[in-house]
Subunit: 423 residues, 2 copies
């Protein structure tokens, strides 16, 4: 263990400064050169597709020897088609607008000083992720476009896949004359490399974990570096008394059942007592037909007999499954109180034709994304028009909600004078 810690520390002390130098070089490269580097990396992914799939086969063989779920194996597996999708992802990022150099604010002081706030790269980003090997390539693409270098620490299950992807990406960077140190991977799978990254204050500027709750919790608990993390998505859809019934049925079915495993999936349905008698049975029937199960409060069960009773803890549970918590509430303020007590400030929606009620709900909650007459499943960088996302942030500092290229930048001030001195 001590040797692993030493090795990890030694790696980081060499890797992080090299990454910083690479980031400085990226920041000075014109946008076209950064895009060329991304396209060259995409081309190398395609050219080395067979080698990447072969490396992945080694990871799969080790996985099969150890045993595990089919779902996990599917996340781990790479095919030529999936490598192609990674390459297309890099090309998509290359085509997005440049997030660097944007003038975020611009003003002149009475003394003539001209001040501009300008978007610049974050610097060195540490990405800690789990099984899906494509996360490494996707994250590298976004970080590079935003002028940051990235240290990629994938799951130990995908070690060979990650190494082969890294070899292709850096071959592309070199071919395009971009610094290969802008994307680095630890040389071994030991847990000590994660610990070294999490403790790297001053060397790494931001850690982004992508994975299950266990990973995110551990990162948040141990990190000595700012973290942009997705902790929990306990999303609500509130059907207000003035909801259009047809719209409510379409939105609730989609918000819960389109995909149940994503963080923007609705976990709890709140419905106003005034319309519950008429509407709740329809909503339940729609969802049941799609395979949904329920955990319902007393008032909901009085309207739709036979539903499973909800415990208090159920309303605090992010199901990520075909299960919906259901509660009947008495108007907007009760819905707000429920969301404030049980929600995770991720994404919460109201369905109503009453604008005053919508504004009251939106102003009363403090979610990263507040939706009016739309499915909570729209909480996604692609759906927001960001072109790509590195994840969704549930903290309150720096970025909230889908994290695209803009949120992967920071800023600085450029002050231009004509000899001003401070009185």
């Amino acid at each position: 263990m001590h040797n692993d810690t030493d090795s990890a520390t030694a790696w980081l002390r060499q890797a992080a400064p090299a990454a910083r130098t690479a980031s400085a070089a990226l920041a000075r490269m014109p946008e076209a050169a950064r895009n060329d580097a991304l396209r060259a990396a995409a081309a190398e992914l395609l050219a080395q597709s067979a080698a990447i799939v072969a490396a992945n086969a080694r990871d799969l063989a080790a996985f099969d020897a150890g045993g595990g779920t089919a779902a996990f194996r599917d996340r781990l597996a790479l095919t030529p088609a999936r490598v192609g999708a990674m390459a297309r992802g890099l090309e998509t990022v290359a085509a997005l607008p440049d997030p660097l150099g944007r003038v975020l604010a611009d003003w002149t002081r009475p003394n003539g000083l001209h001040i501009r706030r300008v978007a610049v790269p974050i610097g060195v980003i540490g990405m800690i992720y789990e099984s899906r090997p494509n996360v490494g390539a996707d994250a590298a693409g976004l970080c590079l476009k935003a002028g940051s270098a990235v240290l990629l620490r994938g799951g130990s299950d995908s070690f060979h896949s990650a190494a082969a992807i890294h070899a292709a990406l850096t071959a592309g960077l070199r071919a395009a004359g971009a610094p290969a140190a802008a994307v680095q991977v630890p040389p071994a799978t030991d847990r000590a490399y994660v610990a070294a990254m999490l403790g790297a204050a001053g060397l790494i500027d931001l850690i982004i974990p992508r994975g299950g709750k266990g990973l995110v919790k551990r990162v948040l608990a141990e990190a000595r570096v700012p973290v942009l993390a997705h902790a929990e998505g306990l999303c609500h859809t509130y059907v207000h008394a003035a909801a259009d019934p047809g719209m409510a049925r379409r939105i609730v079915a989609n918000a819960k059942m389109r995909r149940t495993g994503i963080c923007g999936a609705t976990e709890t349905l709140l419905i106003d007592a005034a319309v519950a008698d008429a509407l709740l049975p329809l909503l339940i029937a729609d969802l049941s037909a799609l395979g949904c199960d329920f955990r319902a409060d007393r008032r909901a069960r009085a309207i739709v007999p036979g539903l499973t009773a909800a415990s208090d803890a159920d309303f605090d549970t992010e199901w990520l499954d075909s299960i919906l918590s259901v509660a009947v509430v008495d108007g907007v303020d009760a819905a707000i109180a429920h969301v404030r007590r049980h929600g995770s400030e991720h994404t919460d929606a109201i369905v109503t034709e009453d604008a005053a009620a919508a504004h009251r709900f939106i102003d009363g909650i403090d979610s990263a994304v507040a939706m009016w007459n739309a499915s909570t499943q729209f909480c996604d960088g692609g759906e927001f028009g960001f072109g790509a996302e590195i994840g969704i942030a549930t903290g309150r500092i720096h970025a909230r909600g889908p994290v695209g290229l803009e949120q992967l930048t920071t800023f600085r001030y450029v002050v231009t004078g004509s000899g001003q001195v401070r009185p």
Copy 2:
């Protein structure tokens, strides 16, 4: 010690949720109501001025019994005039534009979803500061205006002063119908209260330390909560070959000697070899006349004999005193290399009439504030036009440079649809 930890934990578990509720109430208050609360707090500071000065006298008596520097005593001391300045500070903040509700971005997706990114309060801020009691009132004013509640933990030396200021502030809030729990102080001075605040992930959203390097280092090392901190200000002024000599003399004298103890004070002078023979003796003479001492490299000493030799470590030293490190460099790239190696990415300036050289320098460094033909001492929220600042941030995430009301907000998305579901 165990009892103190228990007391601190018990306090925080009650104080932080009350602060969050207060923040939610502040966020819903119209701007005018928040401003009224600030003005009422200012009025109470004036009304309770005698009580505040009397409480401060208890702190001063304890300080005098313990012994300490005159400078520290001066920072601790309150007079009616200083209480008046605190009150005026709150009124100034009340008059500033509202940072909440600003629409930071606004777009419509092809499917008709309308997305707005809107400025909202951070929530619960923990302020940890040292001797100067006015920091508590100033921080409370900025946090309240920005819709956040604040837990104020001042130095143990100023415990009675802080309690008296807190009593006045909350009396003002109550008088204006604002939630008094928006400003809270721990009930005792024990260090365990700091530890509890630093570990309060999920309860406190942001910690802002204000004080010496020891305090900031400890906070950064221990915090489990995002931190907005000022770590170091090792600022450079680089006199380029094409500098206007008169402007260079005015700027260098001001950047170093206007006030030597502030973080934006220049600590190192870099001067191009091409003009050093002619200009360096004048700069040294100007600064010497103002009482400055020097740590000069070999090339500078060859031009101005008798200067103290600089060690390598001197160029890594934030003097905060009447001492200037001096080095002769060969052009812009050498100046950039020096700043990158020795600087702290705080504020760095170039003096030149050559725009190409200025842009090369500004693009080559990565400082939070890059200045061209102006004194580094302009790095200040007031000078930037922010009206007031809660401090200066040297990290790279969320905010950099002077931190005013805008940087004390975060954002959320408000998405308005007409029944869209996600395909």
